[in-house]
C-alpha cells in the first residue's frame, strides 16, 4: 500500500511539473527559444500574487485571475521586443538573452525583496485532504493542481488544433518564412505563443507558491530543472508527452523520497539521465532525434 501511495503522490506532483513544462516546450517548439528565465518567471508570478493579494485583498486562491493575464501581456511584449531582437540575430543569442533575463530577475528579487522565503497563504486549503483507505492521503490542493494541469493541456490542445490562431502557431512553427509568404505576421504569432507560455508558467508559479516555500533563487535552482526534465522525458513537441514526462518525474521523485528525503531529487535526475541515454527523443515522441 505504501507504494501505491507513493505512485499517487508522484502523479499528483507530476501535474505541477507538466504545468511548468508546457510553456517551456511551447516556446521551444514554436520559436526555438530555450527560455532559461522560465523558472524565474514562475517565481516572479508568485511574488506578484503576494503583492496583488496584499493590495486588492482578493482571496489568494483566486489571484491567478489577475496574475495570469498580466503575465500573458508581459509575455507578448517581451517576445515582440527582447526575444525577437535576439532571434533576429541568432538562436544562440536568445539563449544568452534568456540567461541574462534570468540573472536580472533573480538578483532583482534578492535586491528589492530580500532573500527571505515566502509562500502564498491560502489558509487551511493548503493542508485539507481526504483519505482513501488508511495509507493513501490526497491533498485537495495537489488534486486541484493536477486537474488544472490537465485542463490547461486539454485547452491548449484544443486551441492549437481547432482554432485559427492555433493553426497559425503550428504553421509558423513549421516554417516561419512560408507563413510570411502566406500573409502571416510570424512576429505576432510568436507573441501569441509567448503570451500562452508566460500565462501557463505564471499559473505553475502560483500553484508552486501555494504548495511550498519559494525564494528568489527557487526558479533556477529547482523549477527550471524540473521543467526541462519533464520536457526531455516526455519528448519535445508533444503536450501529452509533457504530462507523461511530468508524471514520470514526479513518481520517480516520490519513490526516491521513500528511501530518504535526499534521494528525492536524485531519483528524478537518474530517470532523466536514463531517458537521455536510452531514448533521447523522449518516451512519446515518434521522431528520431537529430
Amino acid at each position: 500500500m505504501i507504494w501505491v501511495n507513493t505512485v499517487v503522490q508522484g502523479i499528483l506532483l507530476g501535474g505541477l511539473y507538466a504545468l511548468f513544462a508546457c510553456g517551456l516546450s511551447l516556446m521551444f517548439g514554436v520559436m526555438n527559444v530555450i527560455n532559461l528565465a522560465h523558472g524565474d518567471l514562475a517565481v516572479s508570478a508568485a511574488y506578484i500574487a503576494i503583492g496583488v493579494v496584499a493590495v486588492t485583498h482578493v482571496p489568494a486562491a483566486l489571484s491567478f485571475l489577475i496574475v495570469v493575464p498580466i503575465f500573458a501581456v508581459i509575455g507578448y511584449v517581451v517576445q515582440r521586443t527582447l526575444f525577437q531582437a535576439a532571434l533576429n540575430r541568432s538562436v544562440l543569442t536568445t539563449l544568452l538573452v534568456t540567461f541574462g533575463l534570468s540573472v536580472v530577475i533573480e538578483n532583482g528579487l534578492q535586491q528589492y525583496l530580500s532573500a527571505n522565503s515566502h509562500s502564498i497563504d491560502i489558509g487551511s486549503l493548503v493542508s485539507d485532504s481526504f483519505g482513501i483507505g488508511s495509507q493513501i492521503t490526497i491533498a485537495y490542493l495537489d488534486l486541484v493542481v493536477l486537474m488544472v494541469a490537465v485542463v490547461v493541456l486539454l485547452g491548449l490542445q484544443y486551441f492549437l488544433s481547432s482554432t485559427a490562431n492555433g493553426r497559425l502557431i503550428r504553421a509558423v512553427a513549421d516554417d516561419p518564412e512560408a507563413a510570411q509568404l502566406s500573409g502571416v505576421s510570424y512576429r505576432h504569432v510568436f507573441g501569441l505563443a509567448a503570451a500562452i507560455a508566460f500565462g501557463t508558467v505564471a499559473l505553475a508559479g502560483l500553484a508552486s507558491g501555494m504548495m511550498s516555500q519559494f525564494g528568489p533563487t527557487t526558479g533556477t535552482d529547482t523549477l527550471l530543472l524540473y521543467a526541462f526534465e519533464a520536457v526531455v522525458i516526455g519528448g519535445l513537441g508533444s503536450l501529452w508527452g509533457t504530462l507523461a514526462g511530468g508524471i514520470l518525474l514526479g513518481v520517480a521523485q516520490q519513490i526516491g523520497a521513500q528511501f530518504s528525503a535526499a534521494d528525492q531529487v536524485l531519483a528524478g535526475q537518474l530517470l532523466f539521465l536514463a531517458i537521455l541515454v536510452l531514448r533521447p527523443q523522449g518516451i512519446t515522441s515518434r521522431r528520431e532525434p537529430a
Binding site: D175, Q180, L181, S182, G183
Partner: protein, 271 residues
C-alpha cells in the same frame, strides 16, 4: 509613369539590385508587368531568378532600386503586408506546412486575404481531387499534389500578382504540363503572373513575354515568337553576341512595347 500602352503597369521593378553578403545577385534589373500578362524569367542556376521573385515578395531587402505595385512603392513593406497588398509567391520547393492538413494549409493562405474571387470552394473546384483529401497531412501528398496545394494557398490570398517559382522542380513532365495548363483559368480570374522556370520550352509555351537572366542582369527580353533559339542560347549561357554589356532593360520599356503574344511588329529585342 507614362507608358506607351497607356496606364501604368501593374507591377514595376526598377533598377533592382540585391546582395547576398558580398555576392551581388541582382544588378539593376528592371521589368514591368501589365495587368493580365504572363511573363517568364528564364536563366541558368544562380542567375538570380529566385532572388528576384523573393525580393518582390519581400524576403530580401534590395540594396538599390524599387518595386511598385499599381504605382505605390512596396520596397519597405514586410512580406505579409505585401500579401495584403496583392502579391503572392508560390515558393520554390512548395514549402507547405507539413504538420498541417491540406485544408489547414489552404486556410493559412487566407490570413491576409484581399476581397476577391478565390475562396476554399473555388480552389477545390479548380483542383477536383482536393476536396476528398482535405484532411490529409500535407507531408503525405505527392510532389505534384503539394505544388497544387501551394498554388491554392497563394490563390486564397486573392493576389493581384502571382509569382511562381520553379513549379516544375522535381515533378514529372506530364504533371508540370497539367499545372501549367491551369494558367489560362488563373488569368481569366483576373490574375497577373510572373514565373521563373528552368524549363525553357515550358516557359516559352505559357508566357507572353520572356526575360532571360544571366548573372543578375536581364540579357534578353521579348515575345517568345520573336526569339530565336540561338538568341536564347546566347543569353542563357552568356555566349555569342548581344550581351555582356551589362545593361538591364531600361525602365519599363520592354513590357510596354510588348502588347500581346503573337502581335506582329514586336522585334525580338535584345535589351
Amino acid at each position: 509613369m507614362s507608358e506607351l500602352t497607356g496606364g501604368p503597369p501593374l507591377l514595376q521593378v526598377r533598377r533592382l539590385s540585391v546582395h547576398h553578403g558580398q555576392l551581388q545577385a541582382l544588378r539593376g534589373v528592371s521589368l514591368s508587368l501589365p495587368a493580365g500578362n504572363v511573363q517568364a524569367m528564364i536563366g541558368a542556376n544562380g542567375a538570380g531568378k529566385s532572388t528576384l521573385l523573393r525580393t518582390i515578395a519581400g524576403l530580401h531587402r534590395p540594396t538599390a532600386g524599387s518595386i511598385l505595385l499599381d504605382g505605390s512603392d512596396l520596397s519597405r513593406m514586410r512580406p505579409e503586408r505585401r500579401v495584403a497588398a496583392g502579391i503572392a509567391l508560390v515558393p520554390e520547393g512548395r514549402r507547405l506546412f507539413p504538420s498541417l492538413t491540406l485544408q489547414e494549409n489552404l486556410l493559412v493562405g487566407r490570413t491576409s486575404a484581399r476581397p476577391g474571387p478565390w475562396n476554399l470552394d473555388r480552389v477545390y473546384d479548380l483542383f477536383g481531387w482536393m476536396r476528398d483529401r482535405r484532411s490529409q497531412h500535407a507531408a503525405q501528398l505527392s510532389g505534384g499534389e503539394q505544388q497544387a496545394v501551394a498554388i491554392g494557398r497563394a490563390l486564397l490570398s486573392n493576389p493581384r500578382v502571382l509569382l511562381l517559382d520553379e513549379l516544375s522542380l522535381g515533378l514529372a513532365p506530364v504533371v508540370v504540363r497539367r499545372i501549367y495548363d491551369l494558367l489560362p483559368q488563373l488569368i481569366a480570374s483576373g490574375l497577373t503572373i510572373l514565373l521563373v522556370e528552368q524549363d525553357v520550352s515550358q516557359a516559352m509555351r505559357v508566357a507572353s513575354w520572356v526575360h532571360c537572366l544571366l548573372e543578375g542582369r536581364i540579357t534578353l527580353a521579348g515575345a517568345p515568337a520573336d526569339l530565336t533559339p540561338a538568341q536564347i542560347e546566347g543569353a542563357y549561357f552568356g555566349i555569342g553576341t548581344g550581351n555582356g554589356n551589362g545593361n538591364g532593360a531600361p525602365d519599363g520599356t520592354t513590357a510596354a512595347a510588348s502588347g500581346r503574344p503573337g502581335s506582329e511588329g514586336t522585334p525580338g529585342a535584345i535589351a
